[in-house]
């Protein structure tokens, strides 16, 4: 405990000296720092903040020091996150390298690969995207057809990926490819790291119902990939893929923890519900109660479930700390519950706001209201990306409950 107190003290001091003032202001939608070769910083302070945090390894606090990570223990990281929260510091770096690829590389990659790729992720030098789904392979991911053929010291890759997040701004793509066309489907897949800066790789944004284009199609036309970019063994990529999906699911599950609905206890000990407060401004109140009893009941249920869910995430993290096990098939439960809960959150906001949540653009709606319309549409993908809710329930049934095939 004494060491932890000391750590907290040092962390406070370091943050006081090193977190630039601009990085303590609330973030707008364009303020996320994704890193990469052509990284766009919203402010010079964002660059400084990334450099300082990257140098310390605190963009990836629990990763091993030898690869540039922070080398922090579970408890130290908890303290770091608390202290970052306390000064409302913006995340120095957001990336799929941190959330998804890095943890899988640490588990499956060769020493050379770790030495090369992990520090780049920590410092935000390379921006990664994910090449998993294909037009014909969605929920049935293992039926994928993009093929990689052996051509001496390199592979030649041909095919198409879809739902590659922000691929048009990315430097590298981690990709599942078919290397064993004769093998049973799960046993002929390999995990390749592909540089997108080459003529054989092109991307095309997909316009979504929200009007935005966070996803792309990515085409491989005789793309060249050096042999040393194969992670794990040839035709053993499915193991890496599954593990990485668990990390992805944990990341998406985190959305279920989002702000608006959860009841929070403020410093003065009064308790409030973000969702109910918001609803009151749109539907009014009646002697302190939300004026619409039906909506009030739904929000109470939602708040109760949100609380129970975040508590369960916390409990799982405390339990995995004691057993040191990392993500498990139970991450499917969190993915399922978190994404369904996030969808419900926005449906309730729509109910509360009525036509005010249905504006598309222009006059008559505030910017926050217009953002909610778009976010509501965005949440519809939460229960599809990273494996649909139905796929998660399949996984829970088979891997956790051990029900018969």
């Amino acid at each position: 405990m004494e060491n932890l107190d000391q750590f907290r003290k040092e962390t406070k001091e370091w943050l006081k000296e090193n977190c630039p003032p601009e990085m303590k202001k609330p973030m707008g939608p364009g303020d996320v720092v994704w890193g990469g070769r052509n990284c766009k910083f919203p402010h010079p302070d964002a660059k400084l903040w990334l450099e300082r945090m990257g140098e310390k390894g605190w963009t990836c606090p629990t990763w091993p020091k030898e690869y540039g990570g922070g080398g922090l223990s579970f408890d130290e990281n908890k303290i770091l996150q608390e202290e970052l929260m306390a000064i409302r510091a913006r995340p120095a770096l957001s990336s799929f390298g941190i959330w998804m690829l890095g943890p899988a590389l640490l588990e499956f990659a060769s020493e050379e690969q770790k030495k090369k790729y992990i520090p780049e992720i920590v410092k935000g030098e390379i921006r990664w995207c994910q090449g998993y789904s294909e037009p014909g392979s969605g929920s049935d991911l293992a039926s994928l057809k993009t093929k990689a053929e052996d051509n001496g010291d390199h592979f030649v890759v041909n095919g198409q990926k879809v739902w590659t997040s922000y691929a048009d701004d990315c430097d590298m793509i981690f990709t599942l490819v078919r290397t064993g066309p004769q093998e049973p489907k799960h046993n002929g897949i390999s995990f390749l790291l592909i540089d997108m800066d080459q003529p054989g790789v092109t991307t095309k944004p997909i316009k979504l119902i929200s009007g935005k284009s966070p996803f792309c199609e990515t085409f491989f036309d005789n793309a060249i990939v050096p042999k040393e970019n194969l992670v794990s063994e040839l035709n053993k990529g499915w193991d890496v893929a599954k593990r990485l999906l668990q990390h992805e699911r944990n990341m998406i599950a985190g959305m279920g923890l989002g702000g608006a609905g959860s009841a929070k206890k403020k410093k003065d000990q009064t308790i409030s519900s973000g969702m109910a407060t918001m609803a009151k401004t749109y539907v009014g109140e009646d002697e302190g109660r939300l004026a619409n009893p039906g909506l009030r009941q739904k929000i109470a249920s939602f708040d109760i479930n949100s609380h129970a869910f975040s508590l369960t995430m916390k409990r799982a993290s405390e339990e995995s700390k004691s057993s040191n096990s990392g993500p498990s098939p139970a991450s499917s439960m969190f993915k399922y519950y978190g994404s369904e809960s996030n969808k419900l959150r926005y449906e309730l906001m729509l109910e509360a706001m009525g036509t005010k949540a249905l504006g598309w653009e222009g006059e008559g709606f505030g910017p926050a209201e217009l953002a909610i319309t778009r976010e509501w549409l965005r949440t519809k993908a939460n229960s599809i990306e990273g494996g649909t809710s139905e796929v998660q329930l399949n996984i829970i049934a088979k891997r956790v409950l051990d029900l018969p095939q």
Binding site: S273, Q297, L311, R315, Y336, L401
Partner: protein, 378 residues
């Protein structure tokens, strides 16, 4: 608040598990239910619980108890809930003891030591209508010199049919709907003017109706201050709601596990029915909901012992969530069993019956969602 039990609580839970498995499996419940014994009460089992010290878990050490706390007794109830063990442990060791702790020192000393040593049985007469409502109390206690005369009617008094002492919530002033004027008294179950009519509920357990016709009780038997019992009652109810949530969680977990086992063994259309996606998804949802319940229960039962100041909201959260999930699981379990699920021979129906009664104890899910919203400021 902790999200894991400490060593002491784990020990209590393990010994309760052993007790429930060896002494009170559901066959014990059936024996008692189907025997000539009245009120679904087995005195031998009760005395064994007493000798294990379970009635003293919330009793301070100075009165012979172990003071192991709400999380301790709740962990025991969770295990007993798994096998639907019928006993007055909840009504005595949780509700009754928590109320008596607010009595004057002589009453405390007398009653608590008898609860710990002899298994004196307590019950709480609070409800007057078919829905839990603390303010809807019109039973009256009129002061006459050093005594009070109590008149009125009570219903759904859990384990009231065989209790030795009755603790009653009534009005010494004020009118129905008001917090002020509520008072608590403890009196003998065989007091003159008190008529106790045991009623058998759908879960085969006993909840009594009580009629008070000018029942005389000394003012020494007042618990807390005259007319000022509201806060005491609410705080005891919150402990009780959390503890009964733990018992309900145990029952829900068992019903779920019985069902999962059945899905793995029952064959139709040449396959195990657990291979059918229509059932797999529902089973997976039950699993997820139970994980959420476990978190709510542990947070709530540990909050009292750790002196948290959010206990009332956590109690409502826990009772609302667990009530809803036990409801879901009790229905799904019967459906997934098919025809065998609606036979008396098979255990799963017992959990359905218990679920509905337990849901009503000190407020159902609707009650607690409403209360949660109020406590959260909407």
């Amino acid at each position: 608040m902790s999200l894991v039990l400490n060593e002491e609580q784990v020990f209590l839970k393990d010994s309760a598990k052993k007790f429930a498995t060896e002494k009170t499996p559901t066959t014990h419940f059936r024996e008692v239910r189907d025997s000539e014994i009245e009120n679904c009460y087995d005195d031998k089992i009760w005395q064994e619980m007493v000798s294990l010290g379970w009635t003293g878990i919330l009793v301070p050490e100075e009165f012979g108890g172990s003071n192991f706390g709400v999380a301790g007794i709740s962990s025991i109830l969770e295990e007993l809930g798994r096998t639907l063990t019928p006993s007055p442990l909840f009504s005595t060791a949780v509700v009754g003891v928590s109320l008596i702790k607010h009595a004057n020192v002589d009453v405390k000393k007398d009653i608590l030591s008898k609860v710990v040593q002899e298994g004196l049985r307590l019950c709480f007469a609070i409800e007057e209508s078919n829905h839990h409502d603390l303010l809807k109390i019109s039973c009256e206690a009129k002061k006459e010199g050093k005594n009070f005369n109590i008149s009125g009617e009570k219903s759904f008094v859990i384990d009231g049919g065989f209790a030795d002492k009755v603790i009653i919530a009534c009005r010494t002033s004020g009118e129905e709907g008001k917090k002020d004027g509520l008072s608590l008294f403890v009196l003998d179950a065989d007091s003159k003017g008190l008529t106790i009519t045991p009623t058998k509920m759908v879960d085969s357990r006993n909840a009594a109706n009580m009629k008070f016709d000018n029942v005389k009780v000394s003012s020494d038997m007042l618990i807390g201050k005259e007319g000022d019992a509201y806060e005491i009652i609410e705080s005891v109810l919150d402990i009780s709601r959390s503890a009964i949530s733990a018992e309900m969680l145990g029952s829900a977990l068992q019903a779920y596990e019985i069902t999962i086992d059945y899905l793995k063994e029952r064959e139709q259309f040449g396959s195990k029915i657990g291979s059918f996606q229509a059932l797999q998804h529902r089973a997976a949802i039950m699993f997820s909901e139970l994980e959420l319940c476990k978190s709510c229960v542990i947070e709530s039962i540990t909050s009292f012992d750790e002196g948290g100041n959010d206990s009332e909201r956590l109690a409502s959260l826990s009772k609302a969530k667990v009530g809803e999930v036990f409801h879901l699981i009790s229905n799904e379990s019967v459906q997934m069993h098919g025809g065998i699920g609606v036979t008396d021979e098979y255990d799963i129906g017992l959990y359905l019956k218990r679920a509905r009664v337990a849901e009503q104890i000190f407020g159902d899910s609707n009650f607690h969602k409403n209360r949660y919203a109020e406590l959260t400021g909407y």
